[in-house]
């Protein structure tokens, strides 16, 4: 089904995906706001002199925006999990390390910018694009190497064998980057040289109703960058010949091979695209948080996996939905739990896992996934 007219093209590759994203964001934000006010009804004053409903009202725009930001990062990582799973039925445990490598590459690129005094003279859009693209390129190539060295020889082995290999790759990558950092700069905390750079750090006040929300510029960069890349991915998978190859291989590898598709090349391509998205997400994430370490991939990677499962693993739209929903859930939990003496934010990570376990019990195929019976 190819696009017939420019209007059709616009709808399929621009308006529809944008509408989908908006719908996902609005939907999850609406449901979570209702839930938050429900909690406020149950516990009006969790601590003396703190009225929960007022606090929620004041923080709502901030929570939604930070939810969207985290959500897009999760969604971009989740895409890698879901695409690889779609093609190989295999969880690439090392995907979180591609994200980490992306954030480290982003740091190195910005270090070069800073050393060449380009940070303040070049246009921010150009700088961000260079950093994100190089992070994506390095991570994508790394993903292809991983597949070639550690996964391809194991294709067809029992399921646990490639998974254990992937765990090994993940562990190796963390310490490999750590060793590189130890040799080159004897330090593992990599701080992006963005402090004091106005376009990245000066807060942007945003007036919503009567309250002012201070946006971080990097949040806007993440949202815009992620939306652009997701639009591109949608076009790539659904509108190009290579994308059709990926879809064909994920439906039936053997038949796709018989139809003249080079299966190995398509699998490598899938790893490249997934890895590149993970790496780009890493660079965007690094710009936002400021400091990254070789261990930075673990939790975002795990949560992105949860997001992929939540949306329905194997489905690209599902990864987007899952990522945005999980980001929102986390942001709201952070915003509400802060006021409770017993729980508090320390347990946010646990809630993500609770979400995972609940989905796996009640709807193992995820929100958008199709139920697949195991073949005997």
């Amino acid at each position: 089904m190819e696009a017939r007219s420019p209007a059709d093209w616009m709808y399929r590759f621009l308006l529809f995906p944008l509408g989908q994203m908006l719908a996902f964001i609005a939907g999850s934000a609406f449901i979570l706001t209702l839930l938050a006010y429900g909690i406020a009804l149950l516990f009006p004053e969790p601590r003396p002199n703190i009225v929960l409903a007022d606090q929620i009202g004041r923080q709502l725009p901030g929570m939604v925006i930070s939810g969207i930001t985290t959500g897009f990062v999760y969604a971009m990582i989740a895409l890698g999990y879901t695409m690889v799973y779609g093609v190989l039925k295999f969880i690439n445990f090392a995907h979180s390390e591609l994200f980490m490598v992306g954030s480290v590459v982003g740091f190195e690129v910005f270090l070069v910018f800073s050393a060449q005094a380009m940070l303040l003279t070049w246009h921010p859009v150009l700088l961000v694009a260079i950093a994100v693209l190089s992070a994506g390129l390095v991570s994508g190539l790394l993903a292809v190497t991983m597949e070639r060295v550690a996964y391809r020889p194991l294709r067809g082995a029992p399921r646990l064998v490639p998974l254990i290999s992937a765990i090994g790759v993940s562990f190796f990558m963390v310490d490999f980057v750590r060793a590189l950092m130890a040799i080159t700069r004897n330090d593992f905390n990599l701080t992006y040289p963005l402090n004091g750079v106005d376009w990245a750090r000066a807060p942007i006040p945003l007036l919503i109703g009567t309250t002012t929300v201070n946006l971080r510029p990097t949040q806007i960069i993440i949202i815009v960058g992620a939306v652009l890349m997701l639009l591109f991915l949608n076009y790539f998978v659904n509108g190009t010949k290579l994308g059709r190859g990926i879809r064909a291989v994920s439906q039936d590898m053997t038949t796709a091979g018989l139809m003249g598709i080079n299966v190995n090349r398509i699998i490598a391509l899938t790893f490249f695209v997934g890895g590149a998205f993970g790496g780009a997400a890493g660079a965007l994430f690094g710009m936002n948080v400021g400091t990254v370490t070789p261990f930075v991939g673990f939790f975002p990677g795990l949560k992105a996996f949860i997001a992929a499962v939540l949306g329905g693993i194997g489905s690209v739209t599902g990864a987007l939905l899952g990522g945005l929903t999980l980001g929102m859930i986390e942001s709201f939990l952070n915003g509400v739990l802060v006021y409770f003496p017993v729980f508090g934010q320390r347990y946010t990570d646990i809630f993500a896992f609770a979400v995972l376990i609940l989905i796996l019990i009640f709807r193992p195929s995820g929100i958008l996934g199709e139920k697949v019976d195991e073949k005997v």
Binding site: P44, V149, A150, I164, S165, I167, S170, I357, E374
Partner: protein, 559 residues
């Protein structure tokens, strides 16, 4: 006996000679004697001591496996094992207690590897949060006997829980339960002597088994890879819980961990230890820690022995066969009437129970328990043990635990110590090492080609098909070698301490094992067949005479 064919290589002839029990016994005796001699002659003040101990101590650790694999009669095997583990190791421990400490760690991790082997190897359920059960065992002993101000010592006042002005649960007080540091443990209104430690091992087993069932219940419907991630999540949840249960009611003392955990009494061992030390001509400045280590050593190998018995009995029982059926094909197992959920829960609970038992022991031995000791890294360590040794085999799990623990706590640590020692004397790596490195790598590449070659005509083709890999390896090795020559150890980056890079080592180890020997070093017969089915068939068709020779040999050995 058939006559030895003239075409037999010297290696095969030696192997045939080793099949004679008497010769094998003599070789083993000589081996152990040599290893002991080397070990006892090491000098701690020597600059190269870390390197020597790194190489020599593993000889002792692997001796029991050589005995197990030898053709000795069962009684002789048992006796030699008892002598090795019951006499030789304690003597080494009195001579230098670091070795005893290592043996305790190896025993503890052996128990963990055996427990995980039940879950992963027998039942085929990949559990990445296994360390959580170990943590449960460790904390059950630590919360009651630590000197930290937990609610068990200070008592606790529960504030009333109100929702919308209505009191749901009235507030109440809990009196102090444990009186730590006094030699007595008070639980509720019962006061127990310190020997309650042994009782707590059973509590640890029970609680960990219950935790295993609780964690198992919601996730057992999942397929292998999902199960792995969910168990990983559970492991993290338990760690985060222990990390955060320091407030509002201080149960686990949070991230600081519980210090001053009590140890079971070992005073009765001080005199014997001193006596033996006197006979050996060693003076112990502080005999009490050595005595307590001795107690823990024997407790640990006792627990390992029990778990080995348990695992063997289970493996050969209807339960074990049900596990095998589930592992090989879940759908077929259900069709054959295997109660899937019950069997999976049983595997989870049994595995967890093993970890619970050694968890209690670990807490008492370390006298300190903190959430950091139970991270994902530890879970993967234990998984690496099971995989290196060979999933599904008991000997394999033990060998894997020995290798990985030695790597982790002995080889990497001593490597770091060696670097520090050389840094202090400003050692410069001599040029000879360039040629040594190149020669070694070339030999390795040639060996790999030779291994996969059947005839000399094949070699050229092999070389061509592996040309890219070989060239890359050689170039990298050459580059490395040029960097190594004249390298001042003092310039070694201070952050690059090998003992902090376990992930690097175990990551490579896992990938290499999966690529080249997924069945492990000491594979169980069934697992080997499963992973190499096609190759075995292929080889058997390809080279019939080799196969023939193998059967002849087996015949000669009386199999």
């Amino acid at each position: 006996m058939t006559a030895i064919p003239s075409s037999l290589s010297p290696l095969a002839a030696l192997r045939r000679l080793y099949r004679q029990p008497l010769i094998a016994g003599g070789v083993l005796l000589a081996y152990v004697a040599l290893a002991l001699l080397l070990l006892l002659n090491l000098d701690r003040r020597d600059v190269w001591f870390p390197q020597y101990t790194m190489l020599v101590f593993p000889l002792i650790v692997f001796a029991p496996f050589l005995v197990l694999e030898s053709p000795l009669p069962t009684l002789a095997k048992g006796l030699s094992l008892a002598l090795l583990l019951g006499v030789a190791v304690p003597l080494i421990g009195i001579y230098d207690s670091t070795y005893l400490e290592l043996m305790i760690q190896i025993s503890i991790f052996s128990a963990l590897a055996l427990g995980l082997n039940i879950v992963v190897g027998f039942a085929g359920l990949l559990d990445l949060g296994y360390i959580a059960f170990f943590a449960v065992g460790a904390y059950i002993w630590a919360v009651f006997t630590s000197v930290a101000d937990t609610i068990f010592r200070t008592g606790f006042e529960f504030a009333p829980l109100t929702i919308g002005g209505n009191t749901l649960i009235a507030g109440f007080n809990v009196a102090p339960m444990a009186v730590a540091g006094t030699g007595l443990i008070t639980v509720g209104s019962i006061t127990l002597p310190l020997h309650a430690f042994y009782l707590f091992i059973f509590f640890g087993v029970l609680l960990a088994a219950v935790a295993g069932i609780l964690l198992g219940l919601p996730v057992l419907r999942l397929r292998g890879d999902y199960l792995a991630i969910v168990t990983l999540g559970f492991g993290e949840i338990i760690r985060v819980l222990f990390n955060n249960l320091g407030e509002p009611g201080n149960i686990t003392n949070g991230a600081q961990g519980l210090h001053g955990v009590m140890q079971p009494g070992s005073a009765f061992l001080i005199d014997p230890v001193n006596g033996i030390a006197g006979v050996m001509g060693v003076t112990l400045r502080t005999p009490a820690p050595v005595a307590s280590q001795m107690l823990f050593y024997f407790l640990a190998i006792g627990i390992v022995g029990l778990i080995i018995l348990l695992a063997q009995r289970l493996d050969n029982s209807p339960i074990g066969r049900a596990w095998t059926a589930i592992r090989e094909d879940e759908v077929a197992a259900i069709a054959m009437g295997v109660p899937l959920v019950r069997m999976k829960l049983l595997a989870f609970a049994t595995g967890a129970a093993c970890a619970g038992a050694v968890g209690v022991l670990y807490a008492a031995k370390q006298t300190f328990v903190s959430p950091e000791s139970f991270s994902l890294l530890q879970s993967i360590n234990i998984l690496a043990m099971v995989i290196v040794g060979g999933m599904g085999g008991i000997k394999g799990a033990l060998l894997g635990a020995s290798i990985v623990t030695l790597l982790n706590l002995h080889v990497l640590t001593n490597f770091a110590l060696q670097i520090n020692a050389l840094r202090n004397i400003d050692y410069v790596i001599p040029a000879g090492s360039l040629f040594l490195t190149l020669a070694l790598v070339t030999a390795l590449v040639l060996y790999i080609i030779w291994r996969s070659t059947r005839s000399i005509y094949d070699a050229g083709q092999q070389l061509r098909s592996r040309l890219t890999g070989s060239v890359i390896t050689l170039v990298l090795a050459g580059l490395l070698a040029t960097r190594i020559v004249d390298f001042h150890i003092a310039d070694w980056p201070s952050q690059l301490t090998p003992d902090k890079y376990q992930r690097f080592v175990f990551g490579i180890l896992l990938v290499l094992m999966m690529l080249f020997r997924p069945e492990g070093l000491l594979p169980s017969a069934r697992r080997k067949l499963e992973l190499h089915r096609e190759e075995t068939v292929h080889e058997a068709e390809d080279i019939p005479d080799l196969d023939q020779r193998k059967t002849d040999d087996d015949f000669a050995a009386g199999r």
